[in-house]
Subunit: 353 residues, 3 copies
């Protein structure tokens, strides 16, 4: 192949939106906010690659999340367990912090990185997993997703990624360590939690023509009950005769201890001149073992992104969450009563550099 | 106009000084310190502009304050209220964190930015508002200024700035949100504090020839009593026949709940070869409603800045604060008894990059 | 001399390793971890120099430590005392934060910087003071070293470094301030601790041909007992006829209040093609005044570094700590019983940019 050049890159995204969200029913609340990351997650990063010859390269990637509405950041988690959470708002390279060796064999990557199963949730939702009101409801209301220390990324990870040129096949595996002492026990018990925070995950997919399909799974060990996530994502992009319409979908299944949950999502992206129309519908159901009620939430989101350039866009989104069986999910900033809806609108600007 | 180029800039200031300050009277204390920001506020920033054509541009600005004497930083405030203060010493983009769209119409700016009324205090004092012993006494001893969450900057802000070419007229307005829940109340009461931390501000000015004059005002809502600040600044720079002498002045009025305060400042800047002599005299009086005593402090500061280049300077400052009516303001690092004076000297080096 | 160019440099190291360490005896524990900084300390920095003409330059240096296995950082210490410790894991420019003026006279440096006595420990150990299992045992188990606020660096420092061209002689002195109030006392006493955290240090050396030798000392004042460190380091690099073998050694003596301690280290570095073999043996003995037992630990470390380029290397290390007289030092991540050994292995990758 062509000889890669050594490089050092400073990059980022600054994305801000004015967002109004409301709930309904008893005790509900509404809010108008300046939010961040409505279109893409705000970030600041440093990455580089060094050509080692023979198709090999050394690479590093340090990327911090930004809450640019207030100039703050996001803490990382040091041990894939709640005890390793950092202080809210501090800057850290929480998004990615890796060093890797890449070559014809693929890539061996060490550090903090995305868990494989995260990617299907991020890639096959037109609104992704950012801070916008359209973002993936499964991700925000799940047992894993935004909630669990390993729902998005894992620290202390060893990852292997297949090389790019396998006729459309791609894949990756990850093993990450909670790094507890070998004689560590759950407080007040003799139950070993040596392996709490240990994560294993894998993702394999195929992309060809307009088709992209991937299956992923992950397990994080906790003495109090493992977190397991499995998801399947697929998208198809039609050709110009169908206006380059892209349809996307995701099936999602997870469990944490004795609670199961299921989710599904369908979406579309339709280019319109310099812009794009996006829509998604997602459904998420919590299934506590033995419980009669299975709290269920669904979200419809519709958005328009107007590209001012390849790097800069204006965007608008409307979204609505419906709840049943006792669920009370609300859009960020709002509070809604059980079984009542939450809705919102946002107008924003995203700039990449 | 000329076509702006897209750019990405890494910039900053590292400024350190050896500072001795002392107080007098019972319980007074003196200190020798290595301080930061005596001449300009130490900082590290990333900013960029993308030319969108037609006179339009997309811009971002991320700037963190530095306490370079110890390698630490400054926290931001996430909600313009005391509850949103970050942890002391952490790094954050506390100084500015914005994304904006600029064009012939002016500039629309989203994020964390300076409140309009701050600028008169910073610009019309030859010593500015940095960490030096000469810095604006009104700013440091005020009800707003350094003390209040919105005394300098506001998070969650929407700002509009007039375009540059209006025949010398300039101006900006800001609305920033505290982002409390709509059903939020003061603890233990039914008094709504939904709007705590909401800030509105404006500044308008005129610059022509040697003259620069600006009026600014701001209000931050708190259920426990709003913070209101109004100030007027003016400067005049004489021509070469008067050695390019620059005279500056500021009138300042503020109130927080039932306490009023007033301040005034006069200053001068006199270029001398590669250097500059600076001096300022400021007076600040607290006027608690119904109280007999009106604690009053005044500060005299004289400094010399020796420019080694456009980016690097050595500087020396002496300053003295006088107190009356029970006031006990002291230069940073010192403690002084009520009605007694505090004085100090600093020698420093400032480098911009 | 040649005219230096003004420059602004973004630089860093990302180093990660898979490390297994174990202890032995009652209550011992082992652990497998992803660690950072096994070969060089992970960091991200910004530095620049501005040519002022006449051999003078202005310089700044801002460098943060990275825990890249989890994307977190290291706090700084603001006052050279325990009370100034920052929050674990936050990013800061803890490694170095200085502005300086350099010229024919040498360099005058202000800010947070390494204490002079640190350098002998770092330079004359083939494994340095990083996070690897081979790193200097004296540094990790000492009264100063990693343990004390001024064991590695001091904040609020004024440093002077001799110019480079003194026929092989080099040297530096530092004075750093704890910045306590002049009327500050130890809690509950009348004992002044005004000078707690004040540090004075010096280091002088000579380098010529294959020889490098340096003597350093430092004292940090604490009302509860000063910390004093003195060390002597030397190395000799043979010529090609002896395979460019480098032998290193350090003698170390320190005291904190009424406790003394002594350490010694010998090491070697042997280039082998694109790689290097390293080994060190160190011994550290704590000597509490009046106590019969003098806890003693010794460490043997052997490593191989395989350079893939000037910037990138793979490395492997094995190490073993032995304890006697009640000592229970263990390799990072392990716990060992008194008088029992701890051992470990690590395999890692280091990339500089």
């Amino acid at each position: 192949g062509a000889l890669a050049q050594s490089s050092l890159t400073l990059f980022g995204v600054v994305d801000a939106a004015v967002t109004y969200t409301k709930g309904s029913g008893n005790g509900s609340a509404h809010k108008t906010q300046l939010t961040n990351s409505g279109n893409m997650f705000s970030r600041l990063g440093f990455r580089g690659t060094e050509d080692l010859g023979g198709g090999y390269s050394a690479n590093f990637w340090l990327e911090m999340g930004l809450q640019n509405d207030s100039g703050t950041g996001f803490p990382s988690n040091s041990n894939n367990q709640a005890s390793g959470n950092g202080t809210a708002g501090v800057l850290s390279f929480n998004r990615r912090s890796t060093v890797s060796l890449a070559g014809p064999f693929g890539e061996l990557r060490l550090g903090r990185d995305y868990v494989p199963a995260f990617w299907n949730t991020a890639i096959f939702d037109p609104f992704g997993t950012g801070g916008g009101i359209g973002a993936n409801q499964i991700y925000f209301s799940g047992l894993g997703g935004l909630v669990a220390p390993t729902g998005t990324r894992a620290s202390n990870s060893i990852g292997y990624l297949l090389p790019a040129s396998l006729g459309g096949f791609y894949g990756q595996v990850m093993y990450a360590m909670g790094e507890n002492d070998s004689n560590s026990v759950l407080p007040g018990t003799r139950v070993s939690n040596e392996h709490d925070g240990d994560h294993t995950g894998a993702r394999f997919g195929y992309q060809s023509g307009g088709l992209n399909i991937a299956l992923a799974t992950g397990r994080t060990r906790y003495a109090s009950g493992d977190l397991r996530v499995t998801n399947l994502g697929a998208s198809y992009t039609f050709d110009a005769s169908l206006m380059n319409l892209k349809l996307t979908s995701e099936l999602y299944k997870e469990s944490k201890g004795s609670t199961d949950a299921k989710g599904a999502l369908i979406g579309l992206q339709l280019p319109i001149g310099p812009g794009e129309i996006k829509a998604s519908y997602a459904r998420y159901r919590l299934e506590p073992v033995g419980a009669t009620l299975k709290p269920t939430s669904s979200k419809l989101a519709i958005g328009y992104v107007h590209n001012l350039s390849k790097r800069t866009a204006l965007y608008a989104t409307i979204a609505r969450i419906s709840n049943s069986n006792g669920a009370s999910q609300a859009l960020s900033g709002a509070i809604t009563a059980p079984n009542r809806a939450s809705s919102g609108t946002e107008f924003g600007m995203r700039h990449m550099f």
